[in-house]
C-alpha cells in the first residue's frame, strides 16, 4: 500500500516536472516570443531591452533560466508579475485558490447528487414519461453555455427580480470568505454553484442512465431478482453500484480541470476572483510568470484528481484492486 502511494507520488512529481518544462519552453523559448520585448513595452530601445534581459535573467542559457524560474516559484516564492510590477505571483495564486475551490467543490456536490438522481430516475422509468422528460431537460442543460446561463441568472437575481422575495437575498456579485462570513459565502455562491452544475448534471445523468440500463441487462441482476430482492434494492445496490466506473472517471477529469482554472467563465460572469479569472487576466496581458504559475497549478490538480480517481476505482470495483 505504502509502495503504491509512493510510486503514485513519484509519478505525480514526474508528470508535473514534464509539464513545467513544456510550459516554460512554450513561453520562453518559442521563436518570436521574446519575453524581454514584452516586458520592456513597445518601441523600447535596444539598451532598455538589454537591461530588462539582464535584470530578469533572460540573457542566461535556458536551463539556468528554468532553474531560476523554478527556484523563484517554489523556493523563494518571490516571482513577480511582468505586467503589474511588484505583484508577487505565488501569493496572488494562493489568494485565488479558496475562491475556485469553494465554487468548484460546491458545484461538484450538486452535480454528483443531481447526476445520480437524474440517471437513476431515468433508468428506472426507462421509456416512460419521467425518463423522456429528464433526458430532454438534461439535453437542454448540456446545450446551454455556462456564461449565458450565468448572465441570465445575474439579470434575474441582480436586477429584474431582485426586489421580489425570490431573489431579494442575493448579495452583490463577488466572493465572501468562508471563515469570516459563512452565511455570506453561501449566499454569494449558491447561484454560481447552480449555474456551473447544470451542464454537468445533464452530462452525468445521461452517462449514468446509459450505463445503468446496460448493467440492468446483466446476468447478476437476474440473479438478484431470483433472490427475491425488492426492485429498488436491485437497482441501487446491484445496478448503480456496478455502473459507477464511467461516472467516476468523468468526475476526476472534470473536477481536476475545473479546479485548475476551467471554471473561468463562471468566475468571470460572477466576478469571483479565482484562479480562472487570474489566468484570464494574465492571458490578456501575456503576463508570463502568472500564466506559468497557474498552468503548473492546474496541472497539479488534474494529475492529483486522476490519482484520486484511480484510488476510487479500487474502492468501487474490487476487480481493479489486485491490478494496482
Amino acid at each position: 500500500m505504502l509502495v503504491a502511494i509512493l510510486s503514485r507520488l513519484g509519478r505525480l512529481v514526474f508528470v508535473m516536472f514534464g509539464i513545467s518544462v513544456v510550459v516554460f519552453l512554450i513561453f520562453f523559448a518559442t521563436p518570436g516570443s521574446d519575453p524581454a520585448a514584452r516586458i520592456a513595452g513597445r518601441n523600447a530601445s535596444p539598451e532598455t531591452l538589454a537591461q530588462v534581459r539582464q535584470s530578469f535573467g533572460l540573457d542566461q542559457p535556458l536551463p539556468v533560466q528554468y532553474a531560476v524560474m523554478m527556484k523563484r516559484l517554489f523556493v523563494t516564492q518571490d516571482l513577480t508579475s511582468f505586467v503589474n510590477r511588484g505583484q508577487k505571483v505565488v501569493p496572488a495564486v494562493i489568494k485565488a485558490i479558496p475562491v475556485t475551490l469553494s465554487l468548484v467543490l460546491g458545484a461538484a456536490v450538486l452535480w454528483v447528487i443531481g447526476g445520480l438522481i437524474v440517471g437513476v430516475a431515468a433508468a428506472a422509468t426507462r421509456g416512460g414519461w419521467t425518463d423522456r422528460g429528464l433526458m430532454a431537460l438534461s439535453l437542454v442543460g448540456v446545450s446551454m453555455p455556462v456564461f449565458w446561463v450565468g448572465e441570465v441568472m445575474n439579470l434575474l437575481s441582480q436586477s429584474r427580480l431582485h426586489h421580489t422575495f425570490l431573489f431579494s437575498w442575493v448579495p452583490p456579485l463577488g466572493y465572501k470568505p468562508l471563515l469570516t462570513d459563512p452565511a455570506g459565502w453561501f449566499k454569494a455562491l449558491v447561484i454560481p454553484w447552480v449555474t456551473l452544475a447544470i451542464l454537468y448534471i445533464g452530462l452525468y445523468g445521461r452517462i449514468l442512465r446509459a450505463d445503468l440500463i446496460e448493467t440492468m441487462q446483466e446476468d447478476f441482476v437476474r440473479t438478484a431478482r431470483a433472490k427475491g430482492l425488492p426492485e429498488s434494492r436491485i437497482l441501487l445496490r446491484h445496478g448503480v453500484r456496478s455502473s459507477l466506473i464511467a461516472f467516476v472517471t468523468m468526475f476526476g477529469l472534470d473536477f481536476g480541470a475545473l479546479i485548475g482554472g476551467g471554471a473561468l467563465l463562471t468566475e468571470v460572469v460572477f466576478g469571483l476572483r479565482g484562479v480562472g479569472k487570474l489566468t484570464y487576466d494574465a492571458l490578456q496581458t501575456l503576463d508570463l510568470p502568472v500564466i506559468l504559475t497557474t498552468v503548473l497549478y492546474a496541472s497539479f490538480f488534474v494529475v492529483a484528481a486522476n490519482a484520486l480517481v484511480d484510488a476510487l476505482y479500487a474502492v468501487i470495483d474490487p476487480r481493479v484492486r489486485r491490478a494496482g
Binding site: 446476468d219 437476474r222 431470483a226 433472490k227 427475491g228 456496478s242 474490487p318
Partner: protein, 335 residues
C-alpha cells in the same frame, strides 16, 4: 383427494408480441415435480426450456411477454400473482441456479455479502447470524475454508467455486423447489460431476424438488428421475428416465440419442445428426413442428399430435406403436 405435487405446471404458454405478430416461445407445457425428485428438461437451444423455467418464478419481465396457463407451487398459483407476493416466494420457496456462474454474481460485492443479502431478505436473522449461516452453507456446498471465502469477491474464485456459491445462495433459505438452468454447462467435466453430486445430495438431505434444464443427455441420465423433451416450445415426449432412455418413442428423442457417439465399438466416421434446423418462431405452425425434419413424416403429421400416454411415457407423435418401438437403442446411457 390425491396430494398435489410440489410443482404443477398446467398448459403453460409464453408468447411474445413482436412486429411480426405473436411469437409462441412455449406452448401448452404441462409438467409435474414431486418433492425430492428431479425433473430433467431437455431440448436444444431455443426450444423454450429457459422460458419455461423463468416463467415458474415469474422472471419473464419483458413487457411484451404474454403468459397463460397455471403454475402451482405447493398449492399456490403463481401465474398472475402480484410481484410483491411473488418476490417473497422467489429465493425463499423457490430458488434459481443460472447457467453461467461467471456472470451470475454481482462483481462488486463479496460472495458472503450476497448470500447474507438473500438470507436477510427472507428472514429476520441478524447480520452476524446470517453470516455464520453463509459460512455453514458454503461448507455444506463443499467449499474449503469457507470462513475466508465469504470475504472473497466473485472474480477471485474459479468457475466451479462460483457455481458452488450460487448453489449455496440458492439453498440458503431452504427452498422447496430449485430450478436450475444448465448449471453445469459452463463447467469442466470433473467439476460438473461434483456439482451434480452436490445437487443430488441436497435433494436427498432436504427433500428439495429440482427442475433441471440441460441439453446434455448424459447429465440427465445421472441426476433426473423423470425427463421431458422439448422441441419448438412443446413437450414431445416425457416419462421416467429409465423407460425413456431405454426406448425413446418420439423420432426427435430418437434422433437426439443417435447423435451421441457410442462408447464401445467402432465410431462412425461422422456423427449422426438430425438434418435441418429447428423451425423459426413466428410462422404459425399447424402440424407437428418436427415433421419437416422427421424421416418418418407421413400424412397425419399435417395435424398437431397430442401428448398421449404410451407405455410408461407420454409421446406426441402419430406414428404407429410398432414403428416407435423400433427406436429402441443399445443403451449405453440407460445402463
Amino acid at each position: 383427494m390425491p396430494a398435489e405435487p410440489l410443482l404443477q405446471i398446467r398448459d403453460l404458454s409464453v408468447a411474445f408480441r413482436t412486429e411480426r405478430g405473436l411469437v409462441q416461445a412455449v406452448e401448452g407445457v404441462s409438467l409435474e415435480v414431486e418433492a425430492g425428485r428431479v425433473l430433467g428438461l431437455v431440448g436444444e437451444s431455443g426450444s423454450g426450456k429457459t422460458q419455461t423455467l423463468l416463467s415458474i418464478l415469474g422472471l419473464i419481465l419483458d413487457p411484451n411477454a404474454v403468459l397463460s396457463g397455471s403454475v402451482r407451487l405447493d398449492g399456490e398459483e403463481l401465474v398472475g400473482m402480484p410481484n410483491r407476493r411473488l418476490r417473497r416466494i422467489r429465493g425463499a420457496k423457490a430458488a434459481m441456479i443460472f447457467q453461467d456462474p461467471m456472470t451470475a454474481l454481482t462483481p462488486v460485492h463479496t460472495v458472503g455479502w450476497q448470500i447474507v443479502e438473500q438470507i436477510r431478505a427472507h428472514s429476520s436473522l441478524s447480520n452476524r447470524a446470517a453470516r455464520d449461516k453463509a459460512v455453514a452453507l458454503l461448507a455444506e456446498c463443499g467449499i474449503p475454508d469457507p470462513a475466508r471465502v465469504v470475504e472473497r469477491y466473485p472474480h477471485e474464485l474459479s468457475g466451479g467455486m462460483r457455481q458452488r456459491v450460487v448453489i449455496a445462495m440458492a439453498v440458503s433459505c431452504e427452498p422447496k423447489l430449485i430450478v436450475a438452468d444448465e448449471p453445469t454447462t459452463a463447467l469442466d467435466v470433473t467439476v460438473q460431476a461434483q456439482i451434480l453430486a452436490l445437487l443430488d445430495r441436497l435433494r436427498r438431505d432436504h427433500g428439495t424438488g429440482i427442475v433441471f434444464v440441460t441439453h446434455d443427455l448424459g447429465v440427465v441420465s445421472e441426476i433426473a428421475d423423470t425427463v421431458a423433451v422439448m422441441y419448438a416450445g412443446r413437450i414431445v415426449e416425457s416419462g421416467p428416465v429409465q423407460a425413456l432412455f431405454a426406448a425413446p418413442r418420439h423420432p426427435y428423442t430418437h434422433g437426439l440419442f443417435n447423435s451421441i457417439p457410442p462408447l464401445r465399438g467402432p465410431r462412425p466416421a461422422r456423427l449422426t445428426g438430425i438434418p435441418g434446423l429447428p423451425p423459426s418462431r413466428g410462422a404459425p405452425e399447424t402440424g407437428c413442428a418436427f415433421a419437416p425434419r422427421c424421416a418418418y413424416a407421413f400424412a397425419p403429421c399435417a395435424a398437431r399430435p397430442p401428448l398421449a400416454p404410451e407405455g410408461a411415457q407420454r409421446v406426441a407423435c402419430f406414428l404407429p406403436g410398432e414403428t416407435k418401438q423400433g427406436f429402441r437403442r443399445a443403451g449405453d446411457l440407460a445402463a
